[in-house]
């Protein structure tokens, strides 16, 4: 069997001979996205939104693109070390669906992206929420989308839905393996009154140095609820850009947990539109920034209707010589009276070489609102530390407990017991003095 020739080139060069990757129904949109991307190029540091995050390491690097075309796989998921409990799992490797549940839970329809896009329901929703306005990475994903999932929730669903996005070591090349540029796309529609819990878990082969450019488009209809866990545990050399575009209708509630643990570069954007009265968004985030890691999240909360509510809580821990960036924008539109936006961002620097930039950005165009925000960067609370020492705990024990408590504030809010246990273990494994914590907890 002849192995196909693997082309590894910077992405811009590969786009010169562009062919759409998805069904004909969206080919025009794909071509247009490709053209827009080519005219704009990758974001640069001069762009305010990319001030702290350079993507030169993505733009200049040679990648190969995965083969396209997908159908429902015949395999059911294998066990992960993760204790799923009742979760139903879809597993992707390099953007290709490799395993799906025999049957999704009642109230859920799940289709691979390429299959779904033959249906007008999904055609209409593809690239409707995530637009080039967010960043040129969205166009790049629209042009190159290599696989993904479309989930439609039509009833309250108790069983958690889990998507595992896995990256491989790469395609065998001469000498080293060649990294892939993977463009997964996720579409989620939660219909009126329906609810679900969705876990996106990004993991991979330790040898991987892929570039993952993910886009998700999430629609919540009236009275819908979605709890969306993003657990990023990518290998140390992987670079990931992810854009989450979310639209929340009246009385609906979108809740996200953005748990950033791995990767070389991870930039996540959450653009949440509260476009009808009493829509609610709750955004929780936790970073552990280790050596040579760069973790960046931009959240943008758009209060576009009256009496909309947002709650945001991020906890950033700089463990080693790495960098964490957080920017939280809240925009309250003129018509959004009686809106309530609260943001709390706290950072903890545990290493002299750790760096964290956390910034709120409020744009308020109406008087009748309640907004509060606070951002702190610092070391451990001295009073709390002394209190623990005065009870006989060693300085190491005191620090370990306080650091854990700082991060635990977010993990504590996780409502799935199995996931909470998993995250707690992961957390303890990454924190200093883990043997102390293991003994204590």
């Amino acid at each position: 069997m002849n192995a196909p020739t693997v082309i590894a080139q910077p992405l811009v060069a590969q786009l010169e001979t562009y062919r759409p990757t998805l069904p004909e129904s969206v080919a025009e949109r794909q071509r247009a996205a490709c053209a827009r991307f080519l005219s704009r190029g990758f974001p640069v540091r001069r762009d305010e939104e990319w001030k702290y995050t350079s993507v030169q390491g993505i733009a200049n690097r040679a990648f190969t693109l995965p083969d396209v075309g997908e159908a429902l796989p015949q395999t059911t998921p294998t066990e992960l070390e993760w204790p799923h409990g009742e979760a139903r799992q879809w597993r992707f490797v390099d953007g290709r669906l490799v395993a799906a549940p025999d049957e999704p839970p009642e109230g859920v329809t799940a289709l691979p992206l390429a299959v779904a896009l033959t249906d007008p329901f999904w055609q209409e929703r593809f690239a409707a929420l995530a637009t080039s306005e967010h960043s040129s990475f969205v166009d790049l994903n629209t042009a190159l989308a290599s696989g993904g999932l479309c989930l439609r929730i039509t009833a309250p669903v108790a069983t958690p839905l889990e998507i595992v996005w896995q990256v491989s070591a790469g395609v065998a090349g001469e000498g080293a393996s060649i990294p892939l540029a993977v463009h997964p796309r996720l579409l989620v529609v939660v219909e009126a009154g329906a609810s679900a819990t969705l876990i996106e878990h990004a993991i991979g082969d330790a040898a991987s140095s892929h570039f993952v450019n993910a886009v998700s488009e999430i629609t919540l209809a009236r009275n819908a609820q979605l709890t969306h866990y993003v657990v990023q545990e990518l290998p140390a050399a992987v670079q990931q850009i992810a854009t989450h575009a979310v639209a929340v209708d009246a009385n609906a509630c979108y809740r996200s947990f953005n748990i950033q643990l791995g990767g070389r570069l991870a930039r996540h954007d959450f653009n949440v539109h509260l476009h009808a009265p009493e829509a609610v968004a709750e955004l929780e985030g936790l970073y552990l920034v280790g050596a040579r890691q760069h973790i960046d999240t931009h959240t943008r909360l758009f209060h576009e209707a009256a009496a909309t509510t947002s709650r945001e809580r991020y906890r950033l821990i700089g463990l080693e010589r790495g960098r964490g960036v957080f920017k939280g924008k809240v925009r309250v539109a003129p018509g959004a009276a009686k809106s309530d936006a609260q943001q709390s961002v706290k950072s903890l620097l545990l290493h002299p070489g750790a760096e964290i930039d956390a910034k709120p950005e409020l744009e308020i165009y109406t008087d009748d609102v309640t907004c509060s925000h606070g951002a702190t960067v610092g070391q451990l609370d001295r009073d709390a530390r002394f209190y623990l020492l005065s009870r006989g705990l060693s300085p190491q024990e005191a620090d370990a407990l306080l650091i854990f408590a700082f991060a635990e504030a977010v993990v504590e809010a996780v409502t799935l017991p199995a996931l909470k246990t998993y995250l707690t273990e992961r957390l303890v494994g990454r924190l200093p003095d883990r043997d102390i914590l293991e003994e204590q907890l």
């Binding site: 209190y387 623990l388 020492l389 009870r391 006989g392 060693s394 407990l401 306080l402 408590a405």
Partner: protein, 250 residues
């Protein structure tokens, strides 16, 4: 047990303790009174080893050792425990973790093996019953969202579990209603022991009605200006501090 001589301490260059002398023997209960800002909490914090205070003169011997040379956690493990005027809220650290970590730290320090988890919990539950605290306290974060009274009961609970040799209680009675005061006072009386000393900072006679002190001291401007028996407290309750301050100044 405790011998403080000429203790002088400053914060940010401002002298707060100014030549303080205090001797406490095993089995005794002392009360320290005095107007706000006279240095009572500072004394407690310095004895517990809080950083940020500069001891510029004087000495403190505790059980024959130089207390000021000991790290705060060693002081605690050697049996000197402070109940804070303002117990610190520590979100995310559960009460039960703190109790267990503290209990085992003390045992380890004495060369004893770690407590059996089952026996430890039985002990904690017994003490919680005495303090009229329900089980849920164990799994709440340390002092987080506790009412004033709950915080103070929690401080005494820690004392009952950790069994100090010298208990320093800084305004343990502040902000307590009469029922809570009785519970707390009852807890303190249980701590009374021939081998243990208790030093209580208080503003009120009320506490002293329940926990009778052997000695009462009045602290003013960083030193003890008068010591006496419990009748001194009655006098202070009736007349305030000013007459005493005037008398000492004269």
């Amino acid at each position: 047990m405790l011998e403080v001589k000429g203790l002088t301490a400053a914060v940010d260059g401002k002298t707060i303790l100014n030549g303080l002398d205090l001797t406490v023997r095993a089995g005794e209960v002392h009360a320290i009174m005095g107007p706000n800002g006279s240095g009572k909490s500072t004394l407690c914090q310095v004895l517990a080893g809080r950083d940020g205070y500069e001891v510029t003169a004087g000495s403190v011997r505790y059980l024959g050792q130089d207390l000021l040379e000991m790290a705060p956690e060693i002081r605690a493990r050697e049996g000197l425990l402070l109940s804070f005027q303002y117990p610190v809220e520590i979100p995310g650290v559960k009460n039960v973790y703190l109790l267990k970590a503290a209990y085992n730290a003390m045992r380890k320090h004495r060369g004893e093996p770690e407590a059996d988890a089952f026996e430890f919990m039985a002990l904690v539950r017994e003490k919680m019953r005495l303090m009229k605290m329900d089980e849920s306290f164990l799994h709440r974060s340390v002092n987080s969202g506790f009412s004033g009274g709950e915080k103070k009961r929690n401080e005494i609970l820690q004392m009952l579990v950790l069994e100090p040799k010298l208990a320093l209680l800084d305004e343990i009675d502040s902000g307590l209603d009469i029922d809570a005061l009785k519970i707390v006072a009852d807890g303190i009386n249980r701590l009374r022991d021939p081998n243990r000393a208790i030093v209580m900072v208080t503003h009120y006679q009320r506490l002293l009605d329940y926990v009778e002190p052997d000695v009462i001291h009045v602290l003013y401007q960083g030193r003890i200006i008068r010591s006496g028996d419990k009748t001194l407290a009655h006098e202070l309750e009736a007349k305030g501090y000013q007459w005493l301050i005037d008398e000492v100044a004269a």
